[in-house]
Subunit: 210 residues, 2 copies
């Protein structure tokens, strides 16, 4: 499942690259083009595609439109995916206004917060009291939730999401959340990603000095 | 270098967990506690620590304060790391207001944007015109930059950062950026992280139906 996770991550990067190629007027691509665009090798690209049964003709490469459609089918993007956010703070608000999601067939349909001053039923995306989370998720058959609350609140929010029937969580709280088998959790720790960069810059500089 | 990257990522997760344990009044921890907190095995924890020359006593575990200090030394956190952001849009603004960074010894010192209406020299964190990027980075000896611009602008920003002498980049634009050997790039693709969650939720549901 871990190898597969990297493969799925690359699939969605291939798709971004394909959309950019399309904007540039390309009709076909070769595995080399995709490899360059996502920072993989061309044999890796072909291997990833073969895992999901996508094949191209050796001489003609892949037709971009067909490839995008196939990848969308694999990623479950043939229908718009409704997503809710918990936490209307800095990260939550940025995600509500983030244009990248709709372009990719993902739609933020509501946000929930414990702070009554943040509730806003008239906005482009409604911010609702956390008490309404469960009924909203059930009534609208939402399966995907994003956690954008401080670390100490995150485990409680995770529990509430599971209780409401959420099946997949993208977690931005700086804490590693775990879930039972029937739910998928993807933890993105922004502090830790920046720390990583700082570590390598320092390590590179130290290695130069010696 | 790739294995090491995962190890460094875990180190910063261990540190978050240690800080939480400390808040709860703990003085010592065992590798089991840390393993539970970050979702690794206890042998993985001990292995990670041994890579960096950290050892605990078998019976007494690790002293939290000592461990935090050692990890901070490894991560280059004994001094405050100054960081700039390029792009004062949704993600850039959220990062400017993000409290997690300062807590971890990382400080956003300025943001840069091409849009003159976003320039703000009086704010808590200044938003400056992109033309001032190079001189600011040189004068303040900044080594770390965050890219929070749309994908089509990202390669140009990357070039400007390299020219200014930036050595490490955290990139939030949905495009895989590459850099020469003397610079480190960490790409975080938020759309792709959410797509990943959606893929697995759909895959799990399909596997239940069959």
């Amino acid at each position: 499942m871990i190898t597969a996770k990297n493969c799925v991550a690359r699939l969605s990067r291939y798709k971004s690259a394909l959309n950019r190629f399309k904007t540039l007027g390309f009709v076909k691509v070769f595995s080399d083009n995709l490899a360059d665009a996502v920072g993989a090798t061309s044999s890796q690209v072909r291997k990833d595609f073969s895992v999901f049964g996508i094949s191209g003709s050796k001489r003609g490469g892949y037709k971009i439109d067909e490839l995008i459609e196939k990848i969308n089918n694999i990623l479950g993007k043939n229908e718009v995916q409704q997503v809710i956010i918990v936490g209307a703070g800095n990260i939550g608000s940025a995600l509500m206004n983030f244009k990248g999601f709709e372009k990719e067939g993902m739609k933020i349909v509501a946000c929930f917060d414990t702070d009554p001053t943040k509730v806003n039923r008239l906005g482009n995306i409604q911010v609702l009291p956390i008490e309404e989370l469960k009924s909203f998720v059930l009534n609208n058959k939402i399966k995907i939730g994003i956690i954008a609350v401080p670390d100490n609140a995150a485990p409680g929010v995770m529990e509430a999401l599971l209780e409401a029937g959420i099946k997949g969580v993208l977690n931005f709280a700086p804490i590693q959340l775990k879930a039972p088998e029937e739910c998928v959790v993807n933890n993105v720790n922004i502090e830790s990603e920046l720390e990583n960069v700082i570590y390598y810059v320092n390590a590179l500089q130290k290695s130069r000095k010696t």
